[in-house]
């Protein structure tokens, strides 16, 4: 008798526990039956106004944070660095060689004039002259690409240099560097990375700057 009384409370709790479990299982089962057989179900609870305001506030804070982050971190830094490198790009000059543009009769003068326009930062004039030359040599092609780049015509630069770089030429290394910058300027990061990696691995022209840009991208 003593034993029975000793566990009376525990037994009561055990009965309640098992009953509660059974009832919870029944609730689930009936909810399914009501849904399947009688098409009765609970509606998804709408978010209360309080939570809606909190959600909107949260979104605003998150958006502001992301914009601030974007402004102060990698992306802006990347853009600044690319702009800086593009600004640094200049015409090919050599203390020994003179101008090495088109040598045919029609093109020679135009090529030199275009080159001079480019040096003088008269990009539109340079472009119209380069586009008038019937046969551009490698030297001209490089400078035409540079003209496009200075005019922020990335698609044209890319198209020109992708063709130009299919074969090895005298200005391949410089052209690769310009192509990488054009990809970055055109927000084509994957292709830019490929070219930059090639420049670093093969120790090509401007490989240190290429590595720096790669670090910024990654």
């Amino acid at each position: 008798m003593k034993d029975i009384n000793q566990h009376k409370d525990l037994e009561k709790s055990l009965k309640e526990m098992y009953l509660s479990k059974e009832e919870n299982a029944l609730r689930e089962k009936w909810a399914k039956q009501l849904n399947d057989d009688y098409d009765i179900k609970k509606e998804p609870a709408p978010a209360s106004k309080k939570y809606l305001y909190l959600l909107i506030l949260g979104l605003i804070v998150a958006a502001t944070g992301m914009l601030t982050y974007k402004y102060f971190t990698s992306d802006s830094s990347k853009d600044t660095k690319v702009d800086l490198q593009i600004a640094k790009l200049e015409v090919l000059s050599h203390p020994i060689y003179s101008h090495r543009g088109a040598t045919n009769q029609d093109g020679e003068d135009l090529s030199l004039e275009a080159y001079n326009n480019l040096v003088a930062e008269e990009y539109e004039s340079a472009l119209s002259k380069y586009e008038s030359i019937k046969e551009l040599n490698d030297y001209d092609n490089y400078h035409l690409a540079l003209t496009y780049l200075k005019l922020n015509k990335n698609k044209e630069v890319i198209k020109l240099l992708e063709n130009f770089n299919q074969k090895e030429h005298k200005y391949s290394q410089e052209s690769k560097w310009m192509l990488a910058l054009s990809y970055l300027n055109d927000n084509n990061t994957p292709k830019a990375k490929t070219v930059l990696k090639e420049i670093v691995v093969k120790n090509l022209y401007n490989n240190k700057n290429a590595q720096e840009l790669l670090n910024t991208i990654e």
């Binding site: 034993d3 566990h7 525990l10 037994e11 709790s13 055990l14 009965k15 309640e16 526990m17 098992y18 009953l19 509660s20 479990k21 059974e22 009832e23 029944l26 609730r27 009936w30 909810a31 039956q33 009501l34 057989d37 009688y38 009765i40 179900k41 609970k42 509606e43 609870a45």
Partner: protein, 197 residues
Amino acid sequence: MDRRMNQSINIACSAGKNFGLNPLEFEDLCTALNKGDNALFEKIYLSHFKQCQNYLIQNYKLSHNESYDVTMDTLIVFRKGIMNKKISYGNLNFLFTRMAYFQMLKNKKELKKLDKEEFQYLTNIGCEESDKRKQEKLNSLEKVIKKLSIEKQKFLRDHYVKKLKLVEMAKLSGESDATMRKRKQRILAEIKLIIKS
């Protein structure tokens, strides 16, 4: 008797007083539930679920989901009442809607002393406020039970869920009644020991 109670009675009368059951069928329902067979209960009462929901929505301006929860809770309490023979045959429809009304008050935490007394008078079922602490206690107990061996858990389920008496369990296992009693005492003692530790 207030206006709503009149409406409740009207609904009950129009639907038949006892969900279409005669006294013998109600006895069968009670027996089936106590044997763990819910099929008949589900067939009768789930088909009246929408009706009860509509009653709550029309008379007490509950939302769809509130009326769903109240009706579901009422079904659970009603089933328990039938199993424990605390609900008797008479006017089951009216009783069910009144229980739904009290359940609504309970869910809204608006159950007053007078309501509790009427509820107890009608159903002979205690109407305690659900206690969060009590639920937590039951959850802890469930965790303790899970620490017991599979055999001991089965013993408890047979005894408390299937409601087998120790004598019946002894017969089924071919052991003596005394062995069963001792086993039960040992299991309960072990549970207490785990709780204390």
